[in-house]
Symmetry: D2
Subunit: 458 residues, 4 copies
């Protein structure tokens, strides 16, 4: 038996490759699916099945793409009509070489969510692995708010039943294979560890330490995870069948002059440099989204119908940037600035700055009572776990729609956990014409390390 977890960086997404003898199956493949074909060829196996645990909202599903390349059959859960693949019911079994995989309906995150239980009959009947999709994570459980707030009680109840009634009974010894790891938008508190079992989760997953179904549902009702606007597009494509890639987009290097011309024709500029580099010099109106944050944040800010241009700190990051964007459906990555921002300013083209400040100076300014805004753009739960007294709180993804609330005549000091989202939020303000925007480097991490006071008040 061959088992491989293939992670999609940027999305904290896990797909799984399983094989036995000359047959293989994939669980939840991503869209840039060359990696699976490569593994199959290296291992000398044929991809026979592609199992989807659920329609996903946070990335473009790769099943159709992989099926086009390999002829593998796509399988997904009941209670929703997909434009492709085969709908399967609870209990259906599949053979992959000497392995046996059984589909178990585990609704809750979505109605059609499936888990897949893998046994190796030659060594015994105990389930070896379970692929739980977004039902059960390491250290957390799936979101139940995707059908809207009104549906949460029903969905959360279903999730409780799925986990306690169908998954945990497989036994403590079964290895857990969820669809996401730490950092995903699909689970707020997923542990930063990939290895777990049902036994470990049963005993220490905080979300499972509940008295009963009612408490479980109540807790889910209290959660307010963010829902990026691009989820709508993902949802639609994943049900219909997303546009096929065939090959990754091949963005071309553009001279500063060509780059400028593309901007004038309507292209959107994303600068993936570090926050420090961005503050020193960037092109007017560019979005600051650091490379590692591209897959998670592009969908909050970037349009699907305009070409995207990249500014990279290092040209070798191009493939990573393209893959991150393609995974969330941005296929129109048409070019990148040759030589990075240096290619721009070497031509004498104007660059813009952001201001930079460290936590000690920020503390001093606050203590002096300077007339300024401290804008914290972290998530609700981060804010709730402690912030700078007197700060204003707007999640970075909501800054565009709540722009009117932010006083633009005052200096704004952007704060997040380390300075990355601060820089991103700051770039949104600069696009709107704010003049004096500071990135507080190190942000709350440095603020705490420096021993400055933290408020829990809202």
């Amino acid at each position: 038996m061959l088992f491989q977890r293939i992670k999609s960086e940027g999305l904290a997404h896990n797909s799984y490759f399983i094989a036995s003898r000359s047959e293989a199956a994939l669980v939840d493949p991503r869209r840039d699916c060359d990696v699976y074909v490569d593994v199959a060829q290296k291992e000398g196996v044929k991809i026979k099945y592609i199992f989807e645990t659920h329609r996903n909202e946070d990335y473009v599903i790769g099943s159709a793409e992989l099926s086009r390349l390999t002829g593998a059959e796509v399988l997904h859960g009941p209670r929703s009509d997909w434009g492709y693949g085969t709908r399967i019911e609870n209990g259906r079994e599949f053979e992959i070489g000497g392995l046996e995989l059984r589909a178990v309906h585990t609704p809750g995150h979505t109605d059609e969510s499936m888990s897949y239980v893998l046994r190796e009959p030659s060594s015994g009947e105990v389930p070896v692995l379970v692929f739980t999709g977004d039902a059960l994570f390491v250290g957390d459980v799936g979101r139940t708010d995707l059908n809207g707030e009104a549906e949460v009680p029903r969905m959360a109840g279903a999730l409780y039943d799925s986990i306690f009634g169908a998954i945990l009974p497989l036994g403590d010894g079964t290895i857990l294979c969820p669809a996401h790891g730490a950092g995903s938008v699909c689970g707020l508190r997923i542990a930063d560890r990939d290895e777990s079992t049902l036994g470990i989760e049963r005993q220490q997953n905080p979300a499972l330490q509940v008295a009963d179904r009612e408490e479980f549902v109540k807790r889910k009702l209290a959660e307010k995870p963010e829902t990026p606007p691009y989820f709508t597009q993902m949802h639609e494509w994943n049900l219909q069948g997303p546009p096929l890639l065939k090959n990754l987009p091949i963005p071309v290097p553009l001279t500063a002059r060509e780059f400028k011309s593309e901007i004038e024709k309507g292209a959107v500029v994303v600068d993936t440099s570090s926050p420090t580099s961005f503050v020193a010099a960037h092109i007017k109106d560019s979005f600051s989204i650091w490379l590692g944050g591209l897959a998670l944040f592009a969908g909050w800010f970037l349009p699907y119908d305009r070409p995207i241009l990249l500014i990279l700190e290092d040209q070798h990051e191009l493939e990573t940037a393209v893959r991150y964007l393609v995974r969330v459906g941005y296929d129109r990555v048409s070019g990148y600035l040759k030589g990075g921002i240096e290619g721009w300013y070497n031509m004498g083209f104007p660059t813009e700055c952001m201001q930079v400040i460290d936590v000690h100076d920020l503390k001093a300014m606050i203590d002096r009572g300077e007339d300024m805004i401290v804008l914290d753009d972290r998530k609700d739960d981060e804010w709730n776990s402690g912030h700078i007294e007197g700060a204003m709180h707007v999640y970075v993804g909501h800054i565009p729609e709540r722009m009117a609330e932010i006083p633009r005549e005052k200096p704004v000091a952007m704060v997040c956990s380390t300075g990355r989202r601060a820089g991103m939020g700051g770039s949104i303000l600069l696009r709107e014409g704010f003049r004096e925007v500071y990135n507080v480097l190190g942000s709350m991490t440095a603020w705490r390390a420096a021993g400055y006071p933290v408020s829990m008040e809202d």
Copy 2:
């Protein structure tokens, strides 16, 4: 300036990547053209032009494929209508970043053959490189027989004029970049060295050491290079525009049982194992073509309209085998035997043998006057340079059509230069029902090394 020779192993084909600033051009790209896109991305350049030196006969041209991926413009010579690309005339100039490339019409190998001369104006006017296609090689010149024997005088004369009138006058210091290296079917005596200049060739290329045009033509008339039957298909595709690949075929691993079933449905089996392994065990009716010989010999024996199945010595050779076949237009590579020949005989399925003999035993048998055939399947020029007295000569590619001449009731000892083509030729005989076929390991190389007598008589 960036310059890279990208060799297509198996075909002894050279393509060239040249770039300056953010622009690049390709000369004679191959069909599996991912390598060019990778180089362009790594170097941060955009492929602007694709130059073809001529319609090729020995491989599928990659221009259309590469143009589909990159949008680059395809350019080719005059005097023939291609189904794609732009026809250019003698003297047309192109800019690639800071480089200047001039097209020079150099007919002879074909009527539309072009050479391309590269200058770097910033450092001077002396031509730095010349891409000569199949006009001038290192140590040889191109074939002039492809329009048929009757046309050789005209073509050879044109080639003389192109080389002496247009190429050599560029100056001794210009670096030579031909379309083929040693081992190509497009030049019999190409040197086993890639580095040369017009000066070196002018002084020591044997084909250029002629008194005059007449002698040059006379020598070309005396040449009898082999013309594999697949040239016809290549020619047709390369003019019309070959079928697009999009991605490499993905042959699947087949169990012995599945493999057998595919054979029964009409698939052709190619065994790329070493000659020694093939003699000990192979599947009935399989073709023995060692991996490195696949691109050169597939076109002599394999049909284009049937699926091809592979037997590999090592599964990791799959990609190489697929690329070699695709380069000569075999896209229906549908599967390979899981576990190689071992996967077959482990199932209890029958294998066949060839006999094996070394040169000492062969010598003894000949000396004893045993009633047998020594069949030498090398090329004419190899045969002419010395062979075993009394041997019969049929070039390996002609064995199928000259089968009737070979006595099938006698033992046949196959001889080539080392034993590879001997094994290939032997496999053709076994397919036809010959019973006692010997591969003479080491063949003429070992025969000579052993000091046995060599005949020059025909």
Copy 3:
């Protein structure tokens, strides 16, 4: 937390890389330890500790080598004096970034065997992973015969206590990380699957399905695993500290003439070609050990004090061959034959053959009552699970010492499971002057597939 299983092919050996924040630890590193340094650099962590589960017998321990490169501290169990590293007692705890690793003394395989239990305190107290060395495998338990037969009752009892008293009580949900996978000489029945947990093993590991300690010991007494002679050398080195490698040996390509000269000076030749290729042509007195079997079988046949020369099917296998040999302490890999066996016979140098036969012909010969020996050189348990009636049984590793028992005047048909060890055993016979040796291709696998009768009699 970062966790990576790093497998040493050829030995079926597992080492483990664990890391958290900027610190890492290794469990049971191999000798060619560049891979660990590479992972550490890629992940941006510093190797702080190297844990040994036990002195090993089947490969050269890599701790000293890795410690030299990285400065990491080497830790091993009590009750034996190692010439390097630090001796630790039961219960000692270590921190690796945010992880906690506790040493647990689990004797039985050896007296000083340790297991290491990994917890991640930030997520809870349940043990996540346990590194069990050779105490508990997936589907089997460790050998208890290495201190000699007389000690088996004491060692087996200790192993029972370690597994049932110290390992299984960690809980069903703990993931199992043993030192070996399927194919190791350290466990006869290890499952061909790397993923398991204590729960899965508790429920279905055949070796754990015993009524009590007594039955466990009794079963261990009945086992007769093979002990290759090189274990002695490994044992000695691993206690003292093995010779440091610094870098992998760099064998040079040798022309046939140079190769011959090295043989004459006393070098040993190992031919790693496939069994089929070996039968057709090999150099006199060479050992036939296929590439994948090199690490497992070299130690049965090859001396440590003579240079080793390689014949490879493909030159690109050189690094693999060198690594396999170095892992079992053969550092004097001085050269390889340029061009493989073809390089030899092309020079007119003589090659030898083995005979080849398929199971159908073997059956016919047996049925005809031909005067021949069928020599089965598989392991005891394979032989006991079914063999050809009338066959003689000598394990391949014992052929040299039991040579006198094998009648050399008769034809010998070598049989194993597929033909590989048959070829290896056959090469031993040929070295001893046997004249007519057959490799039965497919051997017992094909014999069974063909439906021929199998005897269980001894």
Copy 4:
């Protein structure tokens, strides 16, 4: 024949791998010589000879290191005593498989400089390649000032004789293989192109377009190339035999706290981030040397007797940084800051800034007559080709020794060609306590692009 140019990025150094049959030779290998062993193994050849064109001053010679690994013989020119290798005289010949290499004494750059001429006798007597070391480059000739100013007439005369008397007479068609490409400190005007021949150079190399020996010498006398202080150390090591590496240094990741502690113990900090990132946040007293400039500029500023700590923009640049430093003899690269500068400021540790300004603002400040210094730290020839009127000129490498000339009470705007050396020079000023230092982004490139006036006055 196999020929490969292996470039050492950062140094613009070329080494050459040549091979034929089973033998290979290296010309001018670098110190991190694993690449040559890898190529030799891939190509199946044995490195027999290592040829040095001359003792080098700009990098640590790799001959001794490579010889230790492979046993190859090291060969160097006459008239100097090396602590290793074999001294050879003009005219000595060597065989490498089927190739013939002849040593030609070509003094001028140094007294013992050799060129090596490669012929392939099987194809003719015309020299194919010539390895010219630092005698003749593409577009320039070697420095003649390394023995001091007084010796320039003698050395330059010798160089003229070597080039016109020994190298060019090989013929226009010979391919040129010099020891350096564009960007090297060993040649001011080397063309940005690797491909050339003696013919091209004879006709268009500016340094060869002289009336006679006298003019050649006169021109060399007028040159004032920079001589970094580390040349002395290189010279000494390269004659004696440099310290052996055995393996690359393995710098460990350090937390901000550990990093701080190492600084306090005396380590030197090199920040390889982009100039833009450095201006926004850097650690006090760190040197700003961008990654690509590390090999060229480390030797101007860094001591050999203190540990070096790195701050990287991306952790994956670590190997590159280590190689660049090791090539110029910095083996004590002991650690790097985990997480880069973000790892530092996240701990609340203070960072420093530089100021940033674009050319338009600089122009405005100058026009307003602000009291400031414009400090141009480019090389003499760059300065001479045009600079900002009123600017002060100190080459970046000389800033430390000419510090007293720079007024520290005024703002200093650092200018170079693009902003990189400006940032580097600025970091030197900041270390000395300057308070207001500006990096003029784009520097003279942007200044010219903007159409601002350029002065040629000194």
